[in-house]
Symmetry: C2
DNA sequence: TCATTATATTACCACACGGTAGTAGAAGAC
DNA sequence: GTCTTCTACTACCGTGTGGTAATATAATGA
């Protein structure tokens, strides 16, 4: 007999509630912004921010805006993504405050809202480069060990 | 007649292919790590990195490890998450290279693999704080405008 | 007015993922 | 040996989301 359970009532999932706008750091330790002192609300905000940047298509769009503001058609051309798709991603990026929207006649131009974003991306890039280098070093060590015996 | 389309063959989706380990920056501009010079592979790597940090539960785990290495049971107690859940997240965090695993007897201890991570989180925290402040300022301006007329 | 261009929205599908219960396995304790 | 504890894994459900085609809307031009 297969161990197949079906139609069992699934318990309510343990998700964090959405926040609106409350305090972001626990009161105790001054204005320091260490992650360990964050309230669950702030963590949720942070997770949402990361989520926006966690898709290749959206990163492509961000990249294409590094050189300066572009309208939707230009973004579509540069990224090769579909129109509806780009529109959806731009909406998400706008709502997240990553890009800013500006209508000029028929066209709508988008630009990076906060240049700080690139600083952040560069930092991530550094971390990833470090990781890749570490990995390749470990691989080299491993293959040297296997040759020596 | 309802405009209901059903059972239409859906075209192959335009997803970026997974990478294994190729060059991360386009050759042209030296070793500078600006995001605009990244190959699609590097963008995918970057997206994956952000995705790992885009869930509240995983951020909670990262937070709980800021004070130092902890075993799984301790993490469960501190975060209040389910055991299977924590185990799954820890696996993901380990594979992403965010945390490191170390077995000590029966227990398994996890720690943050690269303290750089906190620097990054602090930066994000700054950006978010900035955004929240901007938003609240704009709201204040708006309400002032509405009072004045 | 009608056609065209640019952007947004909707409905839909396939798939990924978070959470859970249950199970498995490994290491000590007895 | 058996029992307990700790961790990992599997199967499952529900939901979220990326992509697409089709449609809607709005501005401009003929």
């Amino acid at each position: 007999m297969p161990t197949k359970l079906s139609k069992k009532p699934v318990a309510v999932q343990e998700r964090a509630p959405k926040l609106v706008d409350t305090k972001l750091v626990d009161a105790k330790a001054g204005d320091e912004c260490g992650i360990s002192k964050l309230t669950p609300e702030a963590l949720s905000l942070m997770a949402d921010f990361f989520k926006v940047l966690s898709e290749v298509s959206r990163l492509q769009i961000v990249c294409s805006l590094k050189a300066g503001a572009k309208n939707v058609t230009e973004i579509i051309e540069e990224t090769g993504l579909g129109q509806a798709n780009v529109s959806k991603h731009l909406k998400m990026l706008t709502q997240a405050g990553v890009v800013a929207r500006e209508q000029r006649g028929v066209c709508v131009y988008y630009r990076i809202a906060n240049p700080f974003l690139f600083e952040l991306c560069d930092l991530v890039c550094d971390v990833l480069t470090m990781q890749v280098e570490q990995q390749s070093q470990q691989l080299q060590q491993l293959s040297r060990l296997r040759q020596n015996r």
